[in-house]
Symmetry: C2
Subunit: 531 residues, 2 copies
Amino acid sequence: MDLTGQQIIGQGRSAEGPETFTATNPATGDALPAAFYHATSSELDRACALADAAYVALEKKTPEERAAFLDKVAEEIMNLGDALIVRAHDETGLPEARFQGERGRTCNQLGLFASLIREGSWVDARIETALPDRTPFPKPDVRLMRRPLGPVAVFCASNFPLAFSVAGGDTASAWAAGCPVIVKAHHAHPGTAELVGLAIQKAAAATNMPEGIFSLLYGPGRSTGMDLVKHPIVKAAGFTGSQQGGRALFDAAAARPAPIPVYAEMSSINPVFILPEALKEDAGQIAAGLRQSVTLGVGQFCTCPGVLVMLSGPETDVFLAQTATLLLESSHDTMLTAGIFDAYRAGFEKLDNKEAVDLLGHDAVQFEATGNRAVPALFRTDAATFLADNELSDELFGPTTLAVVCSSRAEMFSVARKFRGELTATLHGSQADLKAYADLLPLMAARVGRLLVGGYPTGVEVCSAMNHGGPYPACTDSHYTSVGTGAILRFSRPICFQNVPDAFLPSALQNGNPDGLWRLVNGGMTRDSVQ
Amino acid sequence: MDLTGQQIIGQGRSAEGPETFTATNPATGDALPAAFYHATSSELDRACALADAAYVALEKKTPEERAAFLDKVAEEIMNLGDALIVRAHDETGLPEARFQGERGRTCNQLGLFASLIREGSWVDARIETALPDRTPFPKPDVRLMRRPLGPVAVFCASNFPLAFSVAGGDTASAWAAGCPVIVKAHHAHPGTAELVGLAIQKAAAATNMPEGIFSLLYGPGRSTGMDLVKHPIVKAAGFTGSQQGGRALFDAAAARPAPIPVYAEMSSINPVFILPEALKEDAGQIAAGLRQSVTLGVGQFCTCPGVLVMLSGPETDVFLAQTATLLLESSHDTMLTAGIFDAYRAGFEKLDNKEAVDLLGHDAVQFEATGNRAVPALFRTDAATFLADNELSDELFGPTTLAVVCSSRAEMFSVARKFRGELTATLHGSQADLKAYADLLPLMAARVGRLLVGGYPTGVEVCSAMNHGGPYPACTDSHYTSVGTGAILRFSRPICFQNVPDAFLPSALQNGNPDGLWRLVNGGMTRDSVQ
């Protein structure tokens, strides 16, 4: 399949502008085929105008029709076959097997949202029937449900070229809510974006969707991305990436004449607490699990465990030595881009140069001259240093973790209190540990989006009970998850219908409950019709 | 009951600062008893520190304990007796009967939230149980529920000294979620605030709540209010008031190092469409209803119908003349403050001076010299003028409405499309009208928080199916209602628990379902326990 590098605007293609860029293979430094055109402002306007029209047209599509579109997108992504896997590998340095997995997850996400809207109860229908004889005032008939917010901008993530990019979780959840989506491609994997975009274009045509349900634009974040978030037609944005990038979009959106929400999932160091008994019982297993979690995707996961919190003692020294050895023995793999690699190396060296931070197991670290290959590592510091040096709380994006060794239980709680906004926290503890450290659970729950006992934070289950979010700076809005069915709430809002005759109500709110939804009727959950 | 004008900080009182202000009776211009102290920054810090401690302490209180507190607040407000009613009347010029009603609504709101948390299903518990044998990866046990966000700042509203002030809807919903509240009193009714604050202080002591669950501060919005929204301990704010005030808070909150949500309900002109057949059949009734709705609370309701949209014709001329007469005959009542009255008079005169806007039924309007008394009025313009002059879409806070007369159905749709963010829209139409104008319903639904067929937007039903919100500038965040049980969602966020042993889970997520909640378990709604 030949790439053209043109914008996808509804059912059309467009390459109006003079500027282009190419993708680079981070393992070789070679330019990959196809020049990609920066979107012009008139191309962006056209995509937005089509999205605005599609927002109205989508209101007339049934949930089944929208679900069929989601399923068709998944089918067309699978139809891309190996071309997609190969291009994604070439653009990212990540292994092909990883993309087979990520493609499966992406299609499953689309299917999950298709099921969600087929079942339909996500609209949170609430009905309170009239009490015309109530005194002093009659009670009106009042009915509430969630409806789509409007056109949504989605920014592709560097680290999930499929599952958090063109047809990823943000896009799938926005479509499921009934919102058209304009995607801004990531400069690191524009070819992957184009392939998926073409699959979507086909699916939209085949399922008779309004063409503006999807457009794909190329261009720099600071111009194309900013213009998109400032466009009056756009009503929300989804982003996964750096704190700097997410915050810039958030600030621009908040400064609009009519502000819009930017759901940015940004930065997290995902502390892992290893409590004394668990360490005694499971040190080997925890070390092996940590190595796997820290190096997964070359440490380029949002949920990569960046900090270990432990009590000092001989078992801790042995455990850290063992973990350091496992990381030392791990392969040096290519990171997503030269820029990400450079940032990793700079952060690594900054840590290494800190007086009170030790790099375990290495004498001196040699980064290879080519291939943007990360060296996995374990650093160690003490609690006092961690508490005093705010830089140690910054995310270092890559396969590195920092062990913070505490001299007492009280110091461990002080370290815990320093965390303010994380996607996850993990506690490794026996039942006795959990009892002895019972206050640690609510303390960390208040600071994170997800609390794990045992296991590792990487590998985010896509389901109805997931929360991938958390207080700032993990996310710009801790009310929402970007993974799992709850993600649809970001792109919908409640609308109340008062005394609207049954025939003019959306089906979700009609007396007969033709969609068979779970609804809150006069205070009770039921699937019955309203008498 | 003697007022002291001191801050209420937890169970203490404080008056550290040198600056004071007094309340003014807007009907007489007289200063009312008691000098109120502007909060100092150390007082604000103390209130915040207590709230932070209370946030942790509240986690250990059961929903029943928190519900008992809400009920007790209502009881203590009733125990204030006539002193509260008289002071609120003196501070606002609104009749005592109005405050008997508003007090009832305030206590009912507290009771509604007490019932909501006693029942408990609002936490939206979701459980997906483990599948250890799933391939390629085992599925973990994942459980989700909503938990309190943190300390909340609430700003008293000028127009609802009880129901949207110290113990109003914002405060009740934040407490219900488990959040401590720091209230910033409104300068127009500080005595009402103190009385309610004292009732809350008593209730907190009687029900053994952590003292930081409530504080009340006095001071200017641009200093005390801003400092509160910028305080790192504060995690969200609720506001009802002007667009300027709400936006200033929103901007300050968005610019924080860690941004927080400001739920500001601000500005709305609440269009009422009167369709042809309804006008023929019900002109007299609609005119009478409109008069009542427009003049309710001297037009100082967020949902006051500020615009009528109609087709031109002889029936329209007769209807408007009749409505103008009814408004002309209405009493001239005292507005909440001299400032609000001055803004009303200035806006009124600005409208009156517009070439293409007619003041119906008046030759010249005389505002009385004293008493800040509003003159209710009906203005008329044509659709072309309304579409061209953006000032005509500005809210004029007071008992005035503007009839926009359209020469065609198409022009009516153009007017409809001009609305971008309203709390409400109302359609008066027969069944035949609604069929003929079927596209008007979704068009307006996309622009408002609540859509009414018949009736009037004032009188917001406090229930599970209400939405008092809408796209900007009606609100800063259209995802949430500030009236009804949904308001609790603003002050809570999801937290996911992964592989947490049953004994360490919050009761809402335990297998046995000890609280008897409706939960989403493996995709199905149920109150059963998990096997």
